[in-house]
Symmetry: C2
Subunit: 418 residues, 2 copies
């Protein structure tokens, strides 16, 4: 296969289809989403059989248990895919919404209309349900999509791609609105991220290594999510109960997510009172503690943290703990080590809460809430294509709106400029 | 001079200063802007003398009249610079504005806060007043700036930079909040656009060649404005008076601006009635006409347009004219040749107006208005750092808001995720 030629063809087809999907009204897009759901339901046994092929190949290739787990798509997983499609169909359509429409002194009326970006390229790893999730968000936001899933999920992804095509055709939309790569050749990724004529934005989902590689090599804008080194700072004026609840929840509610707290910062004046009970609950949950010198005095179970610990996203039951002088020292530490994902302060002090909110430069900044809330569903976006740690275009959880842009619209009545 | 070392130092200083300016309140920023205005007024004779040095050097180097004209900064020009600073001081401060703050079912309250981007690099050509204009917009939006003006304006720019530093210091802000390059070495541009650790976004202002080169080589996001090949389409259902007024204004009100019409499209059924009077007014204004075969039949003064004409931004008293079958043919032509800047339809037909508005994929889409309105001031932005022909982050005229991003803010009361 000539990969470059193949990708160029996909790109041209996507660009062509992007015009039809951009002009499609909400009813047509929702019919397509529901028709895809029906097609997935009807093809349930084929999808599961294809997934079993992938799992068997994965086991033969020695994939580890975590990877096999992410790859697996059983009947309950298929139900989840169907439910996800119905949820996206139920979301409001962002396309065409006009805002800030005002008359200007010249007499023209000026506003902004939300419009699709065009063609979105999505590069992801093992989980096959991302194929349908990404397709549904692109479709609803009026974009064409080119999807490149993990090579280990190729059979599952092709089975799902067939259902997507069936649904698109049923709604009268071009089947090329969503194209799933049929090759596992890695060169295809290199082509996808360097076709600015055909692709408007790339959303990579996966490990930090993959995302850094794609960002470095892409000539197309990348909406990227690097890592989540999230902090909770327990301030002098923290309520003890809230501090304990938030610290424990932010670390232990789930370990492998990017919005999990990786470092706990605590004001010196509250450390002796609050670190021992927090440490106790962390240890009871099986969390390993790595502390600064002062933390280790107060937490006998802690080991000494190294410089590297402060800069590590553990994604595991490990927590680094540091006692700091005050909010300034806490914000200095955050500035130095945070990945700019999510930080939370626990305090009852109005002025310090306000300072933290304004001065901390992360995609989510919280007061008296668990970092685990940093999520598109919790924020009311209805769905999430990813979380951006960039500042340009989209920041934090990215929903349908993040896949759109705004153009200016001007209504006149023969107006000319004087 | 070691250019790399020099630029790294500027970058580090800008990053450091960006924290102070991001935290500065509106009053401090406005005091700085007004103090810069005072410093410019006080240094009026030094600025004009420096500019005369640049002009003399330019004449000696054989710069053409248009370039010398853009380079010139006389006393009236200095008044314009001062007035611009006062206008930016009077604009509302975008930083810190919280929007869409809503309670979620979990009990947390979620919203978005507008925040500065960080450090903006601006690369521009001969006009020295851009130095102060760009500095004022970055400052007001809470960003640090690194400015690289044209080498032919180096003395003027340094004189203005001294005033900017004076004003910043008077307001207690770091003088490194705005840094104007002291070297004309071209290698400095290459460094500036490849320092993602120190620069968050690049705004190039200048010719298409400069911008394409910067976009190609930058590793930092570029808010770019390529060209403006703008169209007016006179539809079957156009009001004749509006069509005539808009076509003439869109072409002749100014020739060298990016929002000037370069191609007039007209529906076949109205061509015989409307092209002759439009052509007459264009010819009277000294506009050369280049037409399709049908246009040339109706416009004896027109010459035949070549394929290249449809794709050319003339920036001059030249207009290409094409007779099309209907709105679909017009939109096909726009899709193929437009640079995505601004297009306008002249029609009294509700349905066609609505289709044009939705389907044309340009940064400004207008109904019954002159393309010349596509401008930050006319749109009410108060100021304009440039016009973006990109879809990502900022589209169309870019004002203070385009130099900001939004972070999520979450207010809780000890909330944890269940």
């Amino acid at each position: 296969m000539d990969v470059r030629h193949y990708m160029q063809q996909l790109g041209q087809q996507a660009r062509e289809a992007s015009r039809a999907i951009a002009a499609a009204d909400s009813g047509v897009k929702n019919r397509a989403l529901l028709a895809i759901a029906e097609a997935v339901d009807a093809a349930r046994s084929e999808i599961i059989a294809a997934n079993e092929q992938d799992l068997a190949a994965g086991r033969a290739n020695g994939l580890d248990a975590a990877l096999l787990d992410r790859l697996a798509l059983n009947s309950a997983g298929v139900d989840g895919v169907i439910e996800g499609l119905r949820q996206v169909a139920a979301l409001p359509d962002p396309v065409g919404a006009i805002s800030d429409l005002n008359y200007r002194p010249s007499g023209i009326q000026v506003g902004k209309m939300r419009v699709p970006l065009g063609v979105i390229g999505i590069i992801y790893e093992s989980r096959p349900n991302v194929t349908v999730e990404a397709a549904s968000l692109c479709l609803k936001s009026g974009n064409a999509a080119i999807l490149r899933g993990g090579s280990e999920a190729i059979n599952s992804n092709q089975a799902l791609a067939a259902c997507i095509r069936t649904g698109l055709a049923a709604a009268g939309l071009p089947m090329t609105t969503v194209q799933v790569l049929e090759t596992t050749d890695r060169a295809a990724v290199g082509e996808l991220i360097t076709m600015p004529d055909y692709v408007d934005v790339i959303v990579p989902r996966g490990g930090k290594g993959l995302i850094e590689r794609i960002s470095r090599d892409a000539s197309v804008t990348v909406i990227k999510h690097l890592d989540g080194i999230c902090h909770v700072y327990i301030d002098d004026h923290a309520d003890a109960d809230k501090a304990l609840a938030i610290a424990v929840n932010a670390k232990t509610q789930r370990y492998g997510t990017c919005n999990t707290m990786e470092t706990l910062l605590i004001a010196e004046r509250r450390a002796a009172e609050l670190l021992p009970p927090i440490g106790e609950q962390m240890s009871a949950a099986g969390v390993e503690l790595r502390g600064c010198a002062r933390s280790c005095e107060l937490l006998p179970q802690a080991v000494a943290a190294t410089e590297e610990d402060w800069a590590t996203e553990y994604l595991a039951p490990v927590l680094s703990v540091k006692v700091v002088a005050d909010i300034d020292a806490a914000m200095d530490h955050i500035r130095q080590y945070s990945s700019g994902h999510t930080e939370s302060i626990v305090t009852e002090n109005y002025t310090l809460a306000r300072r933290f909110l304004r001065e901390v430069d992360s995609s989510s900044v919280m007061i008296n809430a668990s970092t685990r809330f940093a999520d598109g569903f919790e924020y009311g976006l209805g769905a999430e294509i990813g979380i951006s740690t960039d500042k340009i275009h989209a920041r934090g959880p990215v929903g349908l709106e993040g896949l759109t842009s705004q153009k200016w619209v001007v209504f006149g009545d023969g107006h000319i400029r004087g």
